[in-house]
Structure formats: structure tokens, C-alpha cells
Amino acid sequence: MRPYRRPVAPTWWLSNRAYFLFIVRELTSVFIAAYLVLFLLLLHNIAVGREAYEAYLRFLATPGLLVFHVLALAAALFHTVTWFNLLPNIMVVRYGENRAPAIIIAGVNYVAWIAVSIFIAWIVLSR
């Protein structure tokens, strides 16, 4: 005997805002992976030589690629925000009998995120 399974339409995630945002969050990983492939190609062209690198930068400056990167940036920021806001549910920090409030745990991560970004900017741009 097989248990009955209620059929679910493939468009179930369009039926409500929370489901929709869930699928959007999952698909941010596609933008991030696509960006990393383009970034790996940038590194490959650096390895090939100056001309290849400069040609690739011109390719990245075409409107289609710039639009893609703006969308990828929005997707990556959405991933960051959802990831940090989820952390307090996974990471339980206790002191004595109390539990650190969610806003502190998320807040520490936001501060660390900004610090890391400034550090990368300093490494890359201060030379």
C-alpha cells in the first residue's frame, strides 16, 4: 500500500510571499556561483598575460556583463542578510542561564562583515 501524496504544482512557490522569498534566497546561490566562474576566468586571464587580462576587463565592461554584476551584487547582499539573520537560530550563545539575544549575534556578524570588507579594500586598493 502506498500512502497518498497530495500533488503539488511546480508553481507552488508563487502562491505566497514567504514561499517566493524562500526560492529567491535559494537561487541567490546561482548568481554567486555564476559570478565565481567569471571571477575564475579573470584569474585565468591574469595567468595568460597582460593582453588577455586587459581584453577580459573590456569584456566585463560591456553593458550586459555590468548589468549581470549589479544583479549578482543584489543577490549576494540578499544572501548575506538572510544568512546572518538565520545564524541566531543555529548559534546559541549562553551566559549563565541566559541566552544571548538574536540581535546581538546577528549584529556581531554585520560588524565583522563590514570590517572584513574594509580589510579587503585596504589590501587591494592601497597599493
Partner: protein, 123 residues
């Protein structure tokens, strides 16, 4: 993890993939937005000038510490993608061939990690 039907011994590779998913998600959350801004928008648009001059960039990315950093930056979020995309495909109705979906997703991430290592070793 409960015992899976396809694996009679009850051992699951799920924790392993979940660990890579978690590590990749963390790397992606902390590092990827700024890298997109830097190499996808600022450098091609010419906002950062001298810092992206060829010799400068080559010196930076061929440093051993940078190469290790870049390997983690690229490979781990690929596993994050693989894990999410695997379950998104199933959620969106791809119920048959779950094993094929898993192999295709994690396999792509493994190929990506190998290619990343190859490129970084050439720098």
C-alpha cells in the same frame, strides 16, 4: 539523519555535504558581495585605476597566501550552490532521478574546485 533507502548501512554522506554547504554559505556571506563590487563593477568601470594595473594584480594574486584565500573563496561557495540547487530542483518538481541530480550538482562543484586549483597553480 535517518537511514536512507538507497544506503542499507544507514550511513549518510549528508553531514559532509552540509558542512561544505555551511562553510561555503559563510564565505559567500562575508566575502562575495565586496568581491562582486570590486572585480565585477569597480575594476571594469575603471573606478580603481592603478590598483588593477596588470603588474599590481599579478603580484597580489600570485602571493601564496592570496592563492589559498582565493581557493577557499571560489571552491567553498560552489559547494554551497550545489547543495541549494540540488534541493531547489527537487522543490520545483524534479522528483525523479534524485541521485542523478545530486551527482550532477556536487560533481559540478568538484570539477569547479579542481579547475580553481589548476588556475591558481598557473599564477
Amino acid at each position: 539523519m535517518a537511514k536512507s533507502k538507497s544506503n542499507p548501512k544507514g550511513r549518510s554522506s549528508e553531514p559532509f555535504w552540509w558542512f561544505l554547504f555551511g562553510a561555503g554559505g559563510t564565505i559567500a556571506a562575508f566575502l562575495v558581495p565586496f568581491h562582486i563590487l570590486l572585480t565585477g563593477i569597480a575594476a571594469p568601470a575603471g573606478w580603481v585605476g592603478e590598483s588593477f594595473e596588470y603588474n599590481q594584480v599579478l603580484a597580489l594574486v600570485s602571493h601564496p597566501v592570496t592563492r589559498l584565500y582565493l581557493f577557499a573563496l571560489i571552491s567553498l561557495p560552489l559547494f554551497h550552490w550545489a547543495h541549494r540547487f540540488r534541493f531547489t530542483l527537487i522543490d520545483l518538481g524534479l522528483k525523479g532521478g534524485r541521485r542523478a541530480v545530486a551527482i550532477a550538482c556536487y560533481g559540478s562543484a568538484i570539477v569547479g574546485a579542481i579547475l580553481t586549483a589548476v588556475v591558481l597553480l598557473k599564477l
